[in-house]
Each structure stands twice: as structure tokens, then as C-alpha cells.
């Protein structure tokens, strides 16, 4: 079969051309999840001639997947998704090398799997994996094509790619902390197959744009599409590095507990100087300075001192339910807040002063 003929309709686009086709052929794209988003993304990227596509999913095809996971047929029910996907894609386009990972992507295997790919597509359906995948992409410095849906709306954007100002935003710049309330996913609140089809195809489209250098990809942008009224709204994501703590290397990444991190009901609120001053007027809040003994400036309001180096032991004596932590720049207080939560303070309200004590000085 003449290879040119297969891709003729896209190669004849002068912006794309034979050059674009070659770039796709050389590309290695990884899709996390063969679900509502992953299936259309996989179908279109394979059809368009991406040279190598990795796909990870540990799930099996079930009847209630079929209205949106259009790669699968009724006869596939009960079979591993990755196995079926590989066979179907081989039939669609044998020129594509499909690498199947029939396993759950976790922080223990992600770096090893993702490191071989050029672009990562988020087709996952829960927050623990979304945060894990984001952190892995930041550590490996890989572009992440983010996608997610809720009822009739979808979000899509390109993360961890430098824009013209050399700014690189990731998912934590957009949502620094996982939501504290329960947020339902597709299996719980329902979704129309056409919406995941649209968003998954948009993720594939952004991937093609990024790989071939055509058009204006959604770098540092979040597009929200409403399938009921066809409105779309695009916003610019801006850096927010002070509001979150990322694992800094592989060792820290592997130690992360993403399921715990994303458990609903946890509560750390990062507050600014104005909110902090307001809380000083409350009588039931306990303020804790986690700086070491000799750090300046000394503060004049009522507070306790538990230096960060001794925080693990010192936190045992905290009985209050509203706890406001502060340090010099906001970093250690956020870490201390996470230690408190992990220690079982789930029913407490824990606050951390953003930018630290220095932000109170102006």
C-alpha cells in the first residue's frame, strides 16, 4: 500500500505537508488511560500516522463503557482494554507501533514508562492520577496534553511547555491543591459520549499541532467547552509556584502518596496577608510560627513556636481545631500543614500563610 495515499488528505494541507507527516512518524506519544478521552485520542493519532503510541490502562471493557469508549465493541466485553486497543489500532493502521501497558500508572512506574515519550496525553478520570501524571511530566520535562470533563463541559489545555515568555505552567499552577470536596467523575455523575469524543479529539488535535508546529496550540491556556450551548471560554494559566510543594526528584516522587493527597475532606487553605490579619481577630484560632528559634522578624501577635525541625514531635500537643501556620516565605508552613494532615488532623481547619511573614510587612 502506498504510504502517501493513506495520509494524502492531510499531507495536501500546505501548512502540514510531507514535513508534518514526517514529524508525526518520528513522534512517540503516550496516552494515560484508554477511556472516554483516551479512545478518541488514540484513534485519531494512530490514523494520522504518529509513529509510536504508548497506552496504559489496567481496566477491562465493560458494557457501560461502550457509549463513549468508541474503540471497543460488544464482543470485547471482559477483555483487557489495552489488548483490544492494540488489536484494533493494528487493523486501523499497521504502520503505527502500539506499545500496551496493561497496568495501572502509578508513581512507582510512571517515570520509567513516560521517559521514552515526547508528549503525554491525560486521559485519566481521577485526581490522584491527574496530580501524579502532572508531577511526573514536570520531573521529566514532558509536555502534558490535559483533558477532563464534568457533565456537559470539558477542559483542555497544554501544560509544561514554555510559551514565548519562557513561562511553563503545570496543573498545580492552575489547581495548586486537590479539591477538598468530593467531585464526581463520569461513572458517578454521567456523561454523553459525544463530549468525551470532542475533548479527546481536541487533545489529539493539540498534540498534532504541538508536534508539527502548526497553528496556535493551547500552551499555558485552558479551554472550557460547553456542549449544551456550544460556548467555549479560553483563559490564560499563570504561574503560582508559591502555592504548592512538588516532589523535587525521583526519590521524593516515589515516596508521594497521591491517593491520600487527593482524599476528599482534607483541608489546607493557603491564605494571603489580608485573610491572615482578619484571622488574627478570631479568638479560637491557634497561630504557630514554624521558623527556627533565631529567625527574624519577631512577631508581636499571640502565637506558639514549633520550629519546623522539631515539628513532627511538637505537633502532638496541638489540640485546637483552627490552626494557622506561618514561616518566613510560606514554604515550610505548607509542608508543616501537610504533616499535620497526614498525622490525622482531617477534621481540623489548617491554614498556611502564603509568602510567609514577609508578606505581612508592607
Amino acid at each position: 500500500m502506498n504510504e502517501n495515499e493513506r495520509y494524502q488528505r492531510q499531507v495536501s494541507l500546505k501548512e502540514f505537508g510531507e514535513k508534518g507527516q514526517q514529524k508525526l512518524r518520528k513522534a512517540k506519544v503516550f496516552i494515560a488511560g484508554a477511556g472516554g478521552l483516551g479512545c478518541p485520542a488514540l484513534l485519531y493519532l494512530a490514523a494520522s500516522g504518529v509513529g509510536c503510541i504508548g497506552i496504559a490502562d489496567d481496566d477491562f471493557v465493560s458494557l457501560n463503557n461502550l457509549h463513549r469508549q468508541v474503540l471497543f465493541s460488544t464482543e470485547d466485553i471482559g477483555k483487557p482494554k489495552v489488548f483490544v486497543a492494540k488489536n484494533k489500532i493494528n487493523q486501523l493502521n499497521p504502520e503505527v507501533n502500539i506499545v500496551g501497558y496493561q497496568e495501572r500508572l502509578t508513581n512507582l512506574n510512571a517515570l520509567n514508562i513516560l521517559k521514552d515519550y515526547d508528549v503525554i496525553i491525560d486521559g485519566t478520570d481521577n485526581f490522584p492520577v491527574k496530580y501524579m501524571l502532572n508531577d511526573a511530566c514536570v520531573l521529566l520535562d514532558k509536555p502534558l496534553i490535559y483533558g477532563a470533563v464534568s457533565k456537559f463541559e470539558g477542559q483542555v489545555g497544554i501544560l509544561n511547555v514554555a510559551d514565548e515568555q519562557k513561562i511553563k505552567c503545570n496543573y498545580r499552577d492552575l489547581f495548586p491543591q486537590p479539591p477538598t470536596e468530593q467531585i464526581l467523575n463520569c461513572s458517578e455523575e454521567g456523561v454523553l459520549g459525544t463530549l468525551t469524543g470532542i475533548i479527546g479529539a481536541m487533545q489529539a488535535n493539540e498534540t498534532i499541532k504541538l508536534l508539527t508546529g502548526i497553528g496556535v496550540p493551547l500552551i499555558n491556556q485552558l479551554l472550557i467547552y460547553n456542549s449544551l450551548n456550544n460556548q467555549s471560554y479560553t483563559i490564560e494559566i499563570t504561574e503560582n509556584k508559591k502555592a504548592y510543594q512538588m516532589p523535587l526528584d525521583e526519590e521524593e516522587f516515589i515516596k508521594m502518596d497521591y491517593d491520600w493527597l487527593c482524599l476528599p475532606g482534607k483541608n489546607i487553605q493557603v491564605i494571603d496577608a489580608t485573610e491572615f490579619r482578619k484571622m488574627l481577630l478570631e479568638t479560637d484560632a491557634l497561630f504557630i510560627d514554624v521558623r527556627e528559634q533565631d529567625e527574624k522578624p519577631v512577631v508581636s501577635f499571640n502565637h506558639e513556636k514549633i520550629p519546623f525541625s522539631q515539628f513532627e514531635n511538637g505537633m502532638e500537643n496541638i489540640n485546637q481545631n483552627r490552626i494557622v501556620l506561618f514561616c518566613q516565605t510560606g514554604k515550610r508552613s505548607l509542608q508543616a500543614a501537610q504533616m499535620l494532615l497526614k498525622d490525622g488532623a482531617k477534621d481540623k481547619n489548617i491554614y498556611s500563610l502564603k509568602d510567609g511573614i514577609l508578606s505581612l510587612q508592607d
Binding site: G33, G35, G36, L37, G38, D122, G123, T124, D125, N126, F127, K130, G147, A148, V149, S150, K151, E153, G154, Q155, D173, L174, F175, Q177, P178, P179, T180, E181, I183, L184, N185, C186, E189, V191, T196, L222, I224, Y233, T234, I235, E236, I237, T238, N240, A243, D272, T274, E275
Partner: protein, 75 residues
């Protein structure tokens, strides 16, 4: 000024756009919104002003375009 809500936040507002008058900055806006819609205090969302995500308290012009964006997890 118009406040545009997305995702599950529209269930709280019962519509996609609500109008709020006389707020000078983001902190005031948050306070007023939570007073009018107490359920909002239990929801995670970020705020965009004139289509740009903001992380600090900023002043709001009467013609500012404000959007409240919750995280989505479905896929």
C-alpha cells in the same frame, strides 16, 4: 459586574452568569459570593479576571470579566 460560573458551580448559582454590584476587589467579591451562596464555601475553584487566572487579591473594575473555574476529573 458579571460572574461566569463553570461546571458544578452552575448548580449553586442555578445559572451560568450572575451579577454582583459594588465590590472593589477579589476578597470582597469572595465574601459577597459566599454570603449569597453559602454552598460555595465548600467548593474548590480558581478565579480568572479578564480571562487570566489570578492568585492574589486584585482590584476589580466594574467592567471586569470574572470567571469561577472548578477542577474537573472525568475522562
Amino acid at each position: 459586574m458579571d460572574i461566569k460560573a463553570f461546571g458544578q458551580l452552575t448548580d449553586i448559582f442555578k445559572k451560568e452568569i450572575i451579577s454582583i454590584e459594588g465590590v472593589k476587589d477579589i476578597n470582597e467579591l469572595k465574601e459577597k459570593l459566599i454570603k449569597s451562596f453559602p454552598a460555595l464555601s465548600q467548593k474548590s475553584f480558581v478565579i480568572a479576571v479578564n480571562k487570566q487566572i489570578i492568585h492574589n487579591n486584585v482590584l476589580l473594575n466594574e467592567d471586569a470579566e470574572v470567571a469561577l473555574l472548578p477542577p474537573f476529573s472525568g475522562g
